[in-house]
Structures are given as C-alpha cells and as structure tokens.
C-alpha cells in the first residue's frame, strides 16, 4: 500500500500535452505561410524546430541533466522562431536564431520554466540586430517567383496607404512566415481556449489596448485601426507569445497589466518608433517588467479585505 499526503488524485494534464496543443494550434498558420511563400518557408520552419530540439538535447546531455526534449517545449520555441522569420531568409539564420533561443535564453537560465525572456522572441531580436537586411527582406506573395522587395502592410501604412482588410485577415500579404494569416492564428487560438491551455486576459487586453490607442492616435479612423490589428505580428504575439506561461505574470490582474503594457508599447513603437513593427520588442520589454508586475498585483485572499456588511453594521452599532 502507498501512503502519501493528500491530494491523492491529479488531473490528466501534462506539460507535454499542453505543448502538443500549442504546436497543433500553430499548424494552420504555418500551413498558410507555406502556401503563400513556398517551400523555403517550410524548410525554414523545419530547420528551426530541428535546431531547437537538437540544441536542447545536446545541452542536457553535456550537463548530465535529465533529458527534457520530450516535453515538446523546444518544438514550440523552434516553431515560433521559424514563424517569425521572413520566407526569404537563408537556412543558417534559422539555425543561429533557434540555437541562441534555446542555448542562451532558455537553457543557460535553467531550462523550462526558468527563462525570463520569451526564447523565440529574444532569438528573433538577436537576428534582427545582427542581420537587419535579411530579417526585413519581405517576399510579396503575389509577385513573380522569387521577387524580393515589397513592403509589409505596416510599412505601407507608415507610408500612408491602407491595405485591403480581407487580404490582411486571410493572409494574402507580406510579412513573416507565421504572422500573415490572422484567420489561421485565431482558429488555433480558439482551439487553445477550448482546451483550457490559454486564457483571454493577456491577448484581449493587449489587442483592445492596441485598438483603442490606435483609434485615438488616428483620430478615429476605424479602417486604419482594424488594419493595424490584423497586420504584423500582433495576433501571433498576443495569443502565442505575450501570454507565454513562463515569462508572463501568474496573477490575474498582472496578466491584464501585462497585456495593456504590451499594447501601449506596440502602438508607441509602430507610430513613433524607428521600426514599422513593435510587437517583439514590446513583449520582451514587458517580460522584463513581469516580476515587478507580479509583485504589485497579488490577489486579495478571501476575507482579507472585509467585504462583510454584517460586520460593518455591527461595528456601526457599537460606535
């Protein structure tokens, strides 16, 4: 007979199952990316995932730590990094970014659960800093084969045009491999919500903040605000990266603060910053603020603040 302290039963969830769900949720968006941008997109995604898994396996082996690739979190990191690359990037960019994300951002700080930055985003930031030309060479899905050059919708908007909203929603637009189709990303997000893997606190507060702030900045140009929502990495960032478990606050209120913070920074960078896109940096900056936010937003425990009309009446009577 076994003897152990309570509780004696546990739900059937596991980290592996959660990560598998995230991978499944990302697949439609990856598929759209491959259809739009061609085989090089698929190659980049595969290399990125493979590099992430191999890097983690080698490091755990070298450090004689228990093998952790089975939890599939490296697959998620690799996939997200690949989705954040332009389809024209050479294969070694995926290798460098993915290896950096896993080796430096994740494993150097202790592996799963211990990193303080989102590994995929930090990997992308490093690539953007090192090879800005490669990382912004967008491919136009409608141009003749291999035509490189064309602006992303965000760059176009900075220049004063507003792209077609339906094309933005479906993904017929320029951008990174995995960010172009809002529809496919939302489909995956719906699946994650249904599975209870994510909640809406960060995604919704993030997207709403971007919407309201953009609306205000553009003097209530609704089309422009919606186009801003559907462009760039906002949907990908809000549903799959800003709410990354490890690097976002665990407190409910803290999650909303995180979302609002990401939203404000994104709009500030998009409108007044040097880059057309601000999702990556805003999430990375808010990752850094995470511990402080968490500290300031501890929930009240039951009965901590007297919400007790009965007692108040009592006190009033005595006074």
């Amino acid at each position: 007979m076994y003897v152990s302290p309570s509780p004696h039963i546990r739900a059937g969830t596991s980290i592996r199952r959660i990560m598998l769900d995230v991978v499944l949720a990302l697949l439609p968006a990856c598929a759209v990316g491959v259809v739009m941008f061609g085989w090089n997109a698929l190659l980049l995604l595969c290399i990125s995932v493979l590099t992430a898994v191999v890097t983690e396996a080698v490091i755990t082996r070298l450090l004689r730590k228990p093998a952790s690739v089975g939890d599939l979190s490296a697959v998620v990191t690799g996939l997200l990094l690949g989705m954040n690359l332009p389809a024209t990037a050479p294969w070694w960019v995926a290798v460098v970014g993915s290896a950096f994300a896993i080796a430096i951002v994740k494993m150097a700080f202790g592996g799963i659960g211990c990193n303080f930055l989102n590994p995929a985003l930090a990997g992308r930031a490093v690539l953007l800093a090192c090879w800005p030309a490669i990382m912004t060479a967008w491919k136009d899905p409608f141009a003749a084969v291999d035509a490189v050059a064309s602006a992303t919708p965000l760059a176009a908007m900075k220049a004063g045009e507003i792209p077609d909203l339906l094309n933005l929603f479906l993904g017929k637009t320029g951008g990174c491999i995995g960010e172009v189709s809002a529809a496919a990303l939302l489909l995956g997000a719906a699946y994650l919500l249904l599975r209870g893997v994510i909640n809406l606190r960060i995604p919704l507060s993030y997207i709403l903040t971007v919407f309201v702030f953009t609306l205000a900045v553009s003097r209530f140009n609704l089309t422009y605000a919606v186009a801003q929502l559907l462009s760039g990495g906002l949907i990908l960032g809000a549903f799959y990266m800003a709410n990354d478990y490890t690097t976002s606050p665990i407190t409910p209120l803290g999650q909303i603060v995180m979302g609002i913070g990401c939203g404000l920074l994104t709009v500030i960078i998009r409108q007044w910053g040097g880059y057309p896109e601000g999702v990556s940096y805003s999430i990375l900056l808010m990752n850094l603020a995470g511990p402080l936010i968490e500290r300031a937003t501890r929930p009240l425990v039951l009965g901590e603040k007297m919400k007790n009309p009965f007692k108040k009446k009592e006190a009033g009577k005595n006074a």
Partner: protein, 413 residues
C-alpha cells in the same frame, strides 16, 4: 451492513484532546454506553457501538494516520442498549442549555471529517453574533455520496436536527446548501422543511471545494470569513447534514453517535456503494461488504481523494468523521515525477482562497518563509486543487503545509 464481530473504537479524535478509556479488558459493555471521556473543553465523549465484551485496550492504527489507544469490543450480537439510551418524550420543552448538554454528553462531533466537537462549535464565544445556520449538504469531495444518501433517506431527521440547533443558537434562519447536480436531494429536503419557514434549501453551483465552510458562507450569505477568522466572525455556523441528523438522534432517541453512512468507492473496490456502518468497523470489513479490493488496489484513504488521509493498513476503524473509504488502483495511486514549474498560473486560477500556491512552494524551496507568508500560505485551506491542476505534477500543497508549520514554529508575522 451487519455489525462486525469486533469493533475498534479509538480514544482519540482527529481534532480535540485525547480521551481516557472508562472501561478495561474483560468488562461487559452495552450499546451506547460511554467508554471514553476527557475533561478538556474541546473534546467529546465516545460510546460503544455494540454490546459485548472488551477484549483489549491497546494502541491500534487510527484513521488520522498514526496509532492511538483504542478499546476493542467483541460483539455479542444482542445490541443490548445502555440505560442512558432513552427516547426523550418532551424534547420540545428542553432549554437551549439542556439541549447543548445532551449534544456534548452524546459525543456529537463534526461528521464531515474533522470530528470537531459540535458542542464547542455551538457555543458562540462572547462578543460574536451569529444569525444563520448553514446545513452543509454540499458533498465535500469528489467520490463521496454519503451525505447525498443521507439527505434522501433521513431528510426529516436532518430538518429536526436543524430545528434543535436553531433553538440552541437562538436564531431564526437556516440554509441547507446542496449542489445543483443533486435535484433529488434538493426535492427531498424541500419537502421535509416545507412546514418551517425559517429553513430554506439553497441549490449551489457544482464545484470543488464547495463544501468548505468559507466557500459555503461566501456562496450563501455573500459574506467573507475574515482571513484567520472563524465562521462565527461572518455570523454563521456551518454544520454537516450528518452531524445535524446525529444531533436529532442524540436528543430525540437518546442515541449517541454509534453509526454513520460511509461511502466505499474508488476503482480499487469491486462494488462501490454506501454503507451504514457501526463506528469502529475495520475498513477491511467495509471493503469486503462491497465486494473486496481489486488485485491492483494500492492506496486506502480515510475520507475523500482531495483531503483524505492515506493509510498503511485496512485494519483502521471507521470513526465519526469517516465520510468515505476510498481505494485507489496502482494507476491512480502512483506518484508522478515532478518537473520544474512552468508558471502556467493554473494553480492561481484554481485556488478558491486567492493564495499564490506556486509562489509559496518556490519560496519554501528557497527556505524563504517570510515570502511564503507574504504569498498568504497561512490562508490555505489545503483543498488540494493546486496540486490537482498542476501540469508539472509539483507537490505544491505539501510545500505549503511545510510553510504553514514552519511559519507557526518560527512565529513569523
């Protein structure tokens, strides 16, 4: 179920002072005879659940997980009643103080699990005002159906018990909280209390933990028990329906707590069901009455799967607080390997109190008990929800318990 050949009656409760045995080996005892008592206020006497001969007074396994002195009685099968077990004709004429004295003398204790002496709970400390009694019919834990069964079969007794407690407390309002997934129990209790306008049946949302005192008070009265306080601080007394039926038996029939409804369940039991078992019946006898254990049975639990105590041996006896005997199979009982916390926050969302479970656990790992205190370790009701939902299979509650114990020892504030 029939009374067993031997009953083992522990001289210790789960909570409260231990009792002094009043009998010795060779004594003849009768059904309902007082066999253990203590002078301490927070304690209730205990009575024999059969008539027969005392064969031993010795240390035996206790459902609390340790061993404790116990009186072992060989049943003569006659159920010869003790002289003290007399029906009371005119119980309506008794004063609140007399009623309270009967509750104490007949050893009525909380039958939800903690076996806290009921007369202590019903003695409201000076300076506190109580205006509502909550009859707890929200089964405390998954698997357990003993209270459900009792509400169907003894609804009238429960209502009588409520009326007695209303009189003891001198108040005019009672709620019977029942989870909405038990419409038959809600109907039965509504029918039983239809004549008494002071008592209302309140259907509750189905969730765990709903049967905890603090959750019930919040759900029914929209009041919060202050952090570190008691239900009386929110003007309420919460009592399990089993306890209320026992109060009625004590007052009306003069019968102390000698039986209780026990759920025998879990996938390590062949034919799960509810039994009306004598106090002191060994778990093995109850399990055998339900078809016995399956070959892969690996864990025996006193109580429910979330807060119950796992026991090394099935020789442990049923006590007043044994709401369930759960037998889990190898697959359920195996303790999974812990992985590092991925900070998913599921434990935070699951905590019914607002503790930050994983933050307390991490503080304990660091030996930082001051932080554990700041993350509200002391407010934890040990419901186990955080451990249940954790995808990394972390032993969160176990660490919170360590935090609570250490904070108390160090006197941290």
């Amino acid at each position: 179920m029939p009374a067993p050949q031997f009953v083992v009656i522990p001289m210790a409760r789960v909570t409260g002072a231990p009792l002094e045995p009043l009998v010795k080996k060779g004594d003849h005892v009768k059904l309902g005879q007082k066999i253990g008592e203590s002078a301490a206020f927070v304690s209730a006497p205990i009575h024999s659940s059969v008539s027969g001969t005392v064969t031993a007074v010795e240390a035996r396994p206790h459902p609390g997980g340790r061993t404790a002195m116990a009186v072992v009685i060989e049943n003569d099968g006659l159920d010869e009643k003790d002289e003290s077990v007399r029906p009371c004709e005119n119980f309506d004429a008794l004063t609140p103080a007399e009623l309270l004295a009967i509750v104490k003398d007949k050893g009525v204790v909380g039958m939800g699990g903690a076996t806290f002496p009921t007369h202590v709970k019903l003695s409201i400390p000076k300076g506190k005002t109580v205006d509502t009694l909550i009859a707890n019919g929200a089964e405390c834990e998954p698997y357990l159906t003993a209270d459900h069964r009792l509400m169907l079969e003894k609804s009238g007794d429960i209502v009588k018990g409520i009326q007695i407690v209303l009189k003891i407390l001198g108040i005019e309002r009672a709620f019977i909280g029942i989870e909405a997934n038990k419409p038959d129990a809600i109907r039965a209790m509504r029918a039983a209390c239809a004549q008494d306008s002071r008592i209302q049946v309140a259907p509750l949302k189905v969730k765990y933990p709903q049967g905890s005192e603090k959750q019930l008070i919040t759900a029914l009265l929209h009041r919060e028990v202050p952090s570190g306080g008691l239900p009386a601080d929110a003007g309420a007394v919460v009592s399990n329906v089993g306890t209320l039926a026992a109060i009625r038996d004590a007052v009306v029939d003069g019968m102390p707590v000698v039986r209780r409804v026990v759920t025998v369940s879990g996938n390590g039991v062949k034919e799960p069901g509810n039994l009306l078992a004598r106090i002191g019946t060994p778990f093995q006898v109850c399990i055998d009455a339900c078809g016995g254990m399956t070959p892969d049975a690996r864990k025996i639990i006193n109580g429910g799967p979330m807060m119950g105590t796992s026991l090394p041996s099935p020789d442990t006896p049923v006590i007043a607080g044994t709401s369930g005997i759960l037998v889990l199979s190898e697959a359920q009982a195996a303790i999974p390997r812990e992985i590092s916390c991925i900070r998913c926050g599921k434990c935070v969302d699951a905590c019914p109190i607002g503790v930050l479970p994983t933050a307390v656990a991490e503080a304990v790992d660091r030996g930082d008990y001051q932080s554990a205190l700041r993350y509200r370790a002391m407010d934890c009701i040990e419901c186990g929800s955080c451990v249940y939902v954790c995808p990394a299979k972390r032993h969160i509650l176990q660490k919170i318990r360590l935090a609570k114990q250490t904070i108390r020892q160090k006197g941290l504030k």
